[in-house]
Point group: C2
Chain length 289, copies 2
């Protein structure tokens, strides 16, 4: 496939794509974004991602510079031109380019960029590498529900995880309340009940999180959008993360301690299977990936 970028309608190679130095995303992180998984050339849960993009943009008063219909058309066109079968589409809306000033610029048009990259997903349970995670203080701001590109705290925490040989950092706020991961939502099975932090300003409401909750609702297990603390996390019988890129990812170890003898556990195992079925129903006309 070709890595192509789309810059407000102009298509070029991603490696040659540039933005103005005075773009507010570059100078202030003044932009919002989405990452959408592509299965079988189809963007998965596209409408949910575009709805969230609208919510993020609205929260910080950025105007989306194209109609949703035009954006959808451009996405399918870009996937087609890229010849991308399995991958992801990244999109970012910036407040635009203006003389640097914290104040929102007047008369500046926001800008939108997209690009497509290849990304394969595990095709069987054997291909899944359960995650090692660390726990890390959640030092982010208080508006994590906005999917903005102010991601430095996430970058730092991901780096701290890497230094310990882990692939994800699970954030906790003062008092030990677990919020989410650097780029994932976190689920834990505690006393037989699946729990995850409720939607609030402290977490980003993940699309895969939502899909997981919908699937759990069809399963023979109790679940609750109720926050849990570090102690509960460490005593959970199962832990997994959800994200667009890594789907449902079972967690093997937290701060070096094994979660359980069996990873993925039975609930996570069933959730993964049903998630894949959902992908097949949605993007493969119900056939096999």
């Amino acid at each position: 496939m070709k890595c192509l970028a789309w810059l407000d309608g102009t298509v070029c190679n991603l490696s040659e794509a540039t933005v103005p130095l005075e773009d507010r995303s570059y100078l202030f992180g003044d932009g919002v974004y989405e990452v959408i998984k592509i299965y079988n050339k189809k963007p998965f849960f596209l409408k949910s991602h575009l709805k969230r993009l609208q919510n993020s943009a609205e929260a910080i008063e950025i105007k989306i510079p194209h109609s949703i219909e035009d954006i959808e058309r451009s996405i399918f066109d870009l996937i087609e031109k890229s010849a991308c079968v399995e991958g992801y589409l990244y999109m970012q809306i910036s407040r635009g380019s203006a003389k640097r000033d914290h104040l929102l610029p007047q008369g500046t048009k926001s800008s939108m960029v997209m690009y497509v990259r290849e990304l394969s997903s595990p095709g069987s349970l054997e291909e899944i590498q359960p995650a090692d995670c660390i726990t890390y203080p959640d030092e982010r701001w208080f508006n994590c529900y906005i999917k903005s590109v102010n991601l430095l705290p996430n970058v730092i925490a991901r780096h701290k995880a890497d230094e310990k040989g882990a692939v994800e950092a699970i954030f906790y706020r003062p008092g030990g309340i677990v919020t989410e991961g650097t780029r994932t939502n976190v689920f834990a099975v505690i006393d037989g009940i699946v729990r995850t932090h409720p939607e609030s300003r402290l977490i980003l409401s993940g699309i895969t999180r939502m899909i997981a909750l919908e699937i759990l609702d069809t399963m023979d297990i109790k679940f609750s959008e109720e926050a849990f603390n570090l102690e509960e996390l460490k005593n959970a019988s199962e832990v997994w993360t959800t994200s667009t890129g890594m789907e449902i990812l079972p967690v093997a170890r937290i701060d070096g301690q094994p979660v359980s003898d069996q990873v993925p556990g039975p609930v996570c195992h069933e959730l993964i299977k049903r998630f894949w079925r959902k992908v097949e129903e949605t993007c493969y006309d119900g056939g096999k990936r």
Copy 2:
């Protein structure tokens, strides 16, 4: 003057300057910056700004891609080429351009950009427009001592101030502790003592803040780097902000309430005069601006 940009050694018009779409400053706000005032073609307190830049870069493990000597030479060269007499120099160091991943990229070279713009300063007290400020919850992350481009919370607060006809938002943390402004440090005269929030992870240690403290040390007034709360702020006899761009700026009103009958008050007035003298000593060989 000409608005010129410098991109790792290449000079071009600022309006034509671009950065890669995959630059980590654009995608993650993964960069640090400085703004340096230029008086009489000379960068004011250049070494202090470069030292702080090094501290910020070190805090998030970004390598500065040029030697400090080369950067200093390039700054003077850019000011000369721009024919800038009074203005400011903006510089930003980004972790560089790499395939998007929260994890710090391996083998990627960081990048540095600078540009110069015109900015005049008030030449007399009569030209100073005392500031209207609002107070606003400090919802930022907990590492505000790093001068990073994750500035969305500052942008939002500045916008909220503007909506109320004010030019600055003064942040307070839970409990009402005043930290700083969106792009300024805040000083208040409380019971005859000048106070400002101490250096900590909750504020950006301003260069003009430091200069103000040095000047206060030569004046016949007590001062203390001790935090104050909203009530103390609102009962202060004088309030001012400090910043590179706006120097020492007296505050006239906070949340619509006048600070005092006389703005600037006597301490702020003397501080401004001595600050200007310092500018003249440093950049005008002691002569008049």
